[in-house]
């Protein structure tokens, strides 16, 4: 059985490898000069006074796709919440606090605000410099979990009312949709970037609706990552089977 499977894998893998190599040899040469879509995207972005072309592609030219991406994230978090909920045969045992060396604790508590500010900075400058809602949101959510590293799970739970983050997540997704619908009401198209003035190039308020959509994505990702990590932490640290023995033995 096992040997048969390996043989099958070897045959399939060799075939796939041959096809992939053939495809690679036929691709346009690495580093080539012809990027028609890229050049047009850059022009469109500059026309709308957005310094970061990638943000322009994500939140203006392909804003509808980003809505899909957000719904995937939202649905995945929902799925994780359902899969990792506490079932009837499990109980919660509050974990005993871990003993953290003082320098580590100090470092975690000092870096936490720095990381939060960095996250907000990355979100706010999304349409100017590299970064954006997604990157900043993950950083902000990770920053919060420094409390778990610096202190213990109890401390994290106290500053993390989960309902608030779940609501933030949902609100952010709906605000993205509302921003899209606003374009429709204004007589153009869903998520069209024609509502707001484009502003001065390379300033925080430039780019019409892009900064707003960016902020919505940032909020959503921060909320989603926090909720996700909360459920995994609950499972790993707090929730136990009825049959499970006391931890730490």
């Amino acid at each position: 059985m096992n040997r048969l499977r390996l043989w099958l894998l070897a045959v399939g893998g060799t075939g796939l490898a041959a096809l992939l190599v053939a495809a690679c040899l036929d691709l346009p040469r690495f580093g080539g000069r012809s990027h028609p879509y890229g050049d047009r995207a850059v022009h469109a972005s500059l026309r709308r006074h957005i310094a970061n072309t990638i943000a322009s592609v994500n939140f203006d030219q392909r804003a509808y796709d980003t809505l899909g991406e957000m719904s995937i994230l939202f649905a995945a978090v929902l799925g994780c919440v359902v899969l990792l909920r506490q079932t009837r045969d499990e109980h919660r045992a509050p974990p005993e606090p871990a003993e953290v060396a003082r320098p580590v604790r100090r470092y975690a508590l000092l870096v936490l605000p720095v990381a939060l500010v960095t996250g907000l900075y990355v979100i706010a400058h999304g349409q100017l410099s590299p970064g954006g809602g997604f990157q900043g949101g993950v950083v902000a959510a990770t920053a919060l979990h420094l409390l778990y590293l610096g202190a213990d799970y109890g401390a994290l739970e106290r500053v993390r009312p989960l309902g608030v983050y779940e609501t933030t997540d949902a609100l952010a997704v709906s605000s993205y949709v509302v921003l899209g619908l606003a374009g429709l009401l204004a007589g153009t198209a869903f998520l069209a970037n024609t509502l707001l003035p484009y502003g001065t190039f390379n300033t925080l308020s430039s780019g019409g609706t892009v900064p707003l959509l960016n902020a919505a994505v940032g909020m959503e990702v921060a909320g989603a990552a926090t909720v996700l990590l909360a459920h995994f932490l609950d499972q790993a640290v707090e929730i136990e089977d009825a049959t499970e023995e006391e931890p730490g033995k």
């Binding site: 499977r5 390996l6 894998l9 893998g13 796939l16 490898a17 992939l20 190599v21 495809a23 690679c24 040899l25 691709l27 346009p28 040469r29 690495f30 580093g31 080539g32 000069r33 990027h35 879509y37 890229g38 995207a41 850059v42 972005s45 500059l46 310094a51 970061n52 072309t53 990638i54 322009s56 592609v57 994500n58 392909r62 796709d65 980003t66 991406e69 995937i72 994230l73 995945a76 978090v77 799925g79 994780c80 899969l83 990792l84 079932t87 400058h125 100017l128 410099s129 590299p130 954006g132 997604f134 190039f201 390379n202 990702v221 996700l228 459920h231 995994f232 499972q235 089977d241």
Partner: protein, 119 residues
């Protein structure tokens, strides 16, 4: 050298993808399999960005350079890759949640043992 350079990034992407597939097929632990899937996903990032690269180009971000002063790489594939990474992370999270659920239901995380359980 320059001729090999024309396809090397694509070949690396293909190699990474195949390595991930090998790991997936021979995995003895479901969490390990999820990690191998993450390796497969990273192959797609490499491929997309390699397609969009332009020799001597720089990032199409104009906060610190004058627009038009330097050639830029393709922003469209970068935006695609960004979406790809987000979706990849959510897939990893969802699969890990499923693995925990399987461990809870069947008491094992070895795919072969799971097959025997089903009979």
């Amino acid at each position: 050298m320059s001729h090999a350079m024309d396809v090397l990034p694509y070949l690396v992407a293909a190699y990474v993808f195949l390595t991930g597939c090998y790991g997936l097929a021979t995995s003895r632990h479901l969490i390990h399999a999820v990690g191998c899937l993450a390796v497969c996903q990273s192959a797609t990032y490499i491929l997309l960005l390699a397609v969009g690269y332009r020799a001597g180009g720089t990032a199409p971000v104009f906060s610190d350079i004058e627009p038009g002063s330097r050639p830029v790489v393709d922003p469209v594939v970068q935006a695609l890759t960004l979406t790809d990474i987000v979706v990849g992370a959510t897939v990893t999270a969802l699969l890990l949640a499923l693995v925990l659920q399987i461990a809870k239901r069947h008491g094992t995380v070895d795919p072969d043992e799971l097959r025997e359980l089903r009979g």
